[in-house]
C-alpha cells in the first residue's frame, strides 16, 4: 500500500505527458517511450507533493484522503488520455536526419553503465536504508513528522526542533504521502523515491537532447552524466539535490522543447510547472525558478512567456503560502548584521577560499581519464559546437545557470557559518544540482556526430510523410 501514492504520482504524470504528446507530437515520435515516463515522474511527483501539502494545511491528510486525492490525481489525466488516444496523432511535420550509425552501440554502453550504477545505488540503499546524514537528519525525519498523527506535521517546520525547518517539502511530502497511505515508516518508500528521481534525471537529459538535437547527442550526454561520480554518489543518499537537479534540467528542457514549435504551449506550461517544483524541492530552487521565469521574455520567445508563467503559478502559490504563512525565516544569512555581511563581501580571501574549493570540486568530479571534463573536451574537439545553436534561448538557459551559480557563490562569501565547513559539506551537492541542466545546455549546442561525418547525411522523411508519398 505504501507504494501506491508513488506509483500513482508517476502514473498520473505519465498520463498527463501522454495527453501532451498526443496534442503536441514529438519528433521523432519513437522517443515518447523515454520522454513520457521521465517527465511524467518529475511532474507527477511534484503535483502529488503539492497536493499533499494542501491536505496537511487543511488538516485532511489521513490515509483515506491520500488515497482519494490519489484517485483524483490520476483520473483527470486518465479521462483526457482515453479521449485523446482515439484521435489520430497529427504528424509533427519535422524531417529527422539519418541517425548516427552507431547509436545502438552508444545505447548499449549507456544501458550497461546504468546497470552498474543501479547495482551500486541499490547496494548503498541496502547498506544505508535510512539514507545519508541529511536524509535522516532533515528530509526523512521531516517526512516522519508529516506522516504522523494530526498536527504533528508542524513539528517538521518548527524552529528549535528541526534543523532547517524553512526548507520546502517536495521530497519529504512525497515520502510522507507513501507512509501515510501505508501506515508505516518503511525505508523502502524513500528508497523508491530516490531511485525514480535518479532514473528520471537520466531520462530527462537523454530524452530531451534526443528530441532537441539527435538521439546520439542524448546518449553522449547520458554517458557524461554516468561518468560524474559525485552526482551518482548522491543518487542513493536520499537527499533532495538529485530531485532539484531533475527539476532544473526538466524546466529548461521543457521550455526548449516548447519554444521550438508554434503550438508548444503545453510544454511551456510543463516547463513553468517544473520550475515551481524546483522551488518546492529546496531553497536553492527558488532563485532558479525566479531567474528562469522572470528572464524568459529575454529569450525572444514572447508568445511562450504566458504559458510558462501560467504553468508555474499554482506551484509558486503553494510555495508562497508555505514560505509566508508556515515556514520560519531561513538561516542562510541569519545572525549577522548588514555591516558584517558587507565586510565579508569586501574580504578578498573569502573569494579565493571559494574558488579553491570550486577548483578542488571540479577535480573531484571524476577520476583519471574518465573525468567528465576530459570527456567533454574530447567531444568538443571531435564534434565541435555549432555556431547556429547560439540562440537567445540557449543564452537564456546559460544565463539562468550562471546567475544560479553566482547566487551560490554570493551565499558562500557572505555566510555567517564557518566557510570551510560550509564548502566542505555542501559544494558537491550544489554541483549535482546544476550539473544535469548544465549538460543539457552545453549539449544543445553540440554538433550531432551524424552531421560531422564526411559521408553525406541524407534526411529521412518523417514516417507520415513517407505514407503520404505512397
Amino acid at each position: 500500500m505504501q507504494f501506491l501514492p508513488l506509483f500513482n504520482a508517476a502514473l498520473a504524470g505519465c498520463l498527463w505527458m501522454a495527453v501532451l504528446a498526443q496534442r503536441q507530437p514529438l519528433a521523432p515520435a519513437r522517443l515518447r517511450w523515454l520522454l513520457i515516463p521521465s517527465f511524467g515522474i518529475a511532474a507527477g511527483c511534484g503535483a502529488a507533493s503539492f497536493l499533499h501539502f494542501l491536505l496537511l494545511a487543511g488538516g485532511l491528510a489521513g490515509p483515506a484522503a491520500v488515497l482519494l486525492s490519489d484517485a483524483a490525481l490520476a483520473l483527470v489525466p486518465m479521462s483526457l488520455w482515453l479521449r485523446a488516444r482515439r484521435k489520430p496523432i497529427p504528424a509533427s511535420g519535422a524531417d529527422s536526419p539519418a541517425p548516427f550509425r552507431y547509436n545502438w552501440l552508444l545505447a548499449i554502453v549507456l544501458l550497461a553503465g546504468l546497470a552498474f550504477v543501479l547495482a551500486a545505488h541499490l547496494d548503498s540503499l541496502r547498506t544505508r536504508p535510512h539514507g545519508d546524514w541529511d536524509a535522516f537528519s532533515i528530509w526523512n525525519v521531516r517526512a516522519r513528522y508529516l506522516a504522523g498523527p494530526e498536527g504533528s506535521w508542524k513539528t517538521a517546520i518548527a524552529p528549535g526542533l528541526m534543523s532547517h525547518p524553512d526548507y520546502p517539502l517536495l521530497v519529504s511530502g512525497l515520502v510522507a504521502r507513501c507512509w501515510t497511505a501505508g501506515g508505516t515508516f518503511d525505508t523502502l518508500a524513500p528508497a523508491a523515491a530516490a531511485t525514480i528521481f535518479f532514473l528520471a534525471s537520466v531520462g530527462v537529459l537523454t530524452g530531451a537532447l534526443a528530441t532537441l538535437a539527435s538521439l546520439s547527442v542524448g546518449l553522449l550526454a547520458g554517458l557524461v552524466l554516468m561518468a560524474t561520480s559525485p552526482w551518482l554518489a548522491l543518487s542513493a543518499s536520499q537527499y533532495s539535490d538529485i530531485p532539484l537537479g531533475l527539476y532544473m534540467a526538466g524546466g529548461l528542457a521543457a521550455a526548449f522543447i516548447g519554444a521550438r514549435s508554434e503550438d508548444g504551449w503545453g510544454w511551456m506550461a510543463l516547463g513553468g510547472f517544473l520550475c515551481s517544483c524546483a522551488a518546492w524541492t529546496k531553497n536553492e530552487g527558488l532563485p532558479f525558478a525566479l531567474f528562469a521565469l522572470l528572464s524568459f521574455p529575454l529569450s525572444g520567445k514572447r508568445r511562450a512567456v504566458i504559458p510558462l508563467w501560467l504553468g508555474s503559478l499554482p506551484g509558486l502559490l503553494v510555495v508562497a503560502v508555505f514560505k509566508l504563512v508556515y515556514a520560519p525565516p531561513g538561516d542562510v544569512l541569519a545572525g549577522q548584521s548588514a555591516a558584517q555581511t558587507l565586510a565579508k563581501f569586501a574580504d578578498l580571501s573569502r573569494y579565493s577560499q571559494v574558488f579553491e574549493a570550486v577548483y578542488r570540486q571540479i577535480i573531484d568530479l571524476g577520476s583519471g581519464p574518465s573525468h567528465p571534463l576530459l570527456l567533454l573536451v574530447l567531444l568538443g574537439l571531435v564534434l565541435r559546437f555549432q555556431a547556429r545553436a547560439a540562440t537567445p534561448l540557449l543564452y537564456w538557459a546559460g544565463g539562468v545557470l550562471l546567475l544560479q551559480i553566482a547566487t551560490y557563490g554570493a551565499v558562500y562569501v557572505a555566510t555567517p557559518h564557518d566557510l570551510n565547513w560550509l564548502l566542505g559539506t555542501s559544494l558537491s551537492r550544489l554541483f549535482a544540482q546544476v550539473w544535469p541542466a548544465g549538460l543539457l545546455t552545453l549539449f544543445s549546442a553540440l554538433n550531432p556526430p551524424e552531421r560531422c561525418l564526411d559521408e553525406p547525411t541524407p534526411t529521412r522523411p518523417h514516417p507520415s510523410a513517407r505514407r503520404k508519398k505512397k
Binding site: 547496494d123 547498506t127 535522516f136 526542533l161 574530447l378 565541435r384 564526411d454
Partner: protein, 142 residues
C-alpha cells in the same frame, strides 16, 4: 564546417564511450568497496533499533527533551541526536529544552551511565531503562 574523416570520429567516439564506461566501473568498485568496509558510518540502523522500544512505550503526542554524554558539537554526538530524533519521530525531540516544555527526557548515552547521578544532577526521575545507555526520565515530582 571543417570536414573530418569518419574513422577519426568513430574512433574518438568509441574511446569516449569506453572511457565513460570505465568511469562507471571505477565508481561501482569504489562504492562496492566503501559499502563493504563501512556500510553504515553513523550506525543509524543500529540507533533506530535502539530507540524503537522507547517510541513504542511513549504515549501519543509525548514531547521529549534530550540528554547525552556526548556534546552535540562532536560528530558522534550530533549523529546520535539526529538518529534518535529520526527514530523517535513523530514524537518531537528537543536538544535544548526547558523542563516545562517536555513530557519526558530521553537519556541517550554512548557509555553506560550512572543513572542515579544523572537523576540527581538534572532533577529527573527514571521512568524506565531500555537497555544499556538508553533511559526515559520525567521531571522529579511531576
Amino acid at each position: 564546417m571543417t570536414r573530418r574523416s569518419p574513422p577519426g570520429i568513430h574512433l574518438s567516439l568509441g574511446a569516449f564511450a569506453a572511457l565513460s564506461l570505465y568511469g562507471v566501473l571505477t565508481y561501482y568498485w569504489r562504492v562496492d568497496d566503501a559499502n563493504r568496509r563501512d556500510p553504515d558510518p553513523y550506525r543509524v540502523e543500529f540507533q533506530v533499533g535502539r530507540v524503537a522500544p522507547v517510541r513504542e512505550a511513549l504515549p501519543p503526542g509525548a514531547r521529549l527533551g534530550y540528554l547525552s554524554d556526548l556534546p552535540f558539537s562532536d560528530v558522534r554526538g550530533s549523529a546520535m541526536f539526529f538518529a534518535a530524533q529520526y527514530g523517535l519521530a513523530p514524537h518531537p525531540v528537543q536538544l535544548e529544552f526547558k523542563p516545562n516544555e517536555v513530557d519526558f527526557v530521553l537519556g541517550y548515552f554512548a557509555a553506560v551511565p550512572d543513572l542515579a547521578k544523572i537523576q540527581a544532577e538534572h532533577s529527573l526521575q527514571l521512568v524506565r531503562e531500555f537497555g544499556p545507555g538508553v533511559a526515559l526520565f520525567r521531571r522529579a515530582g511531576s
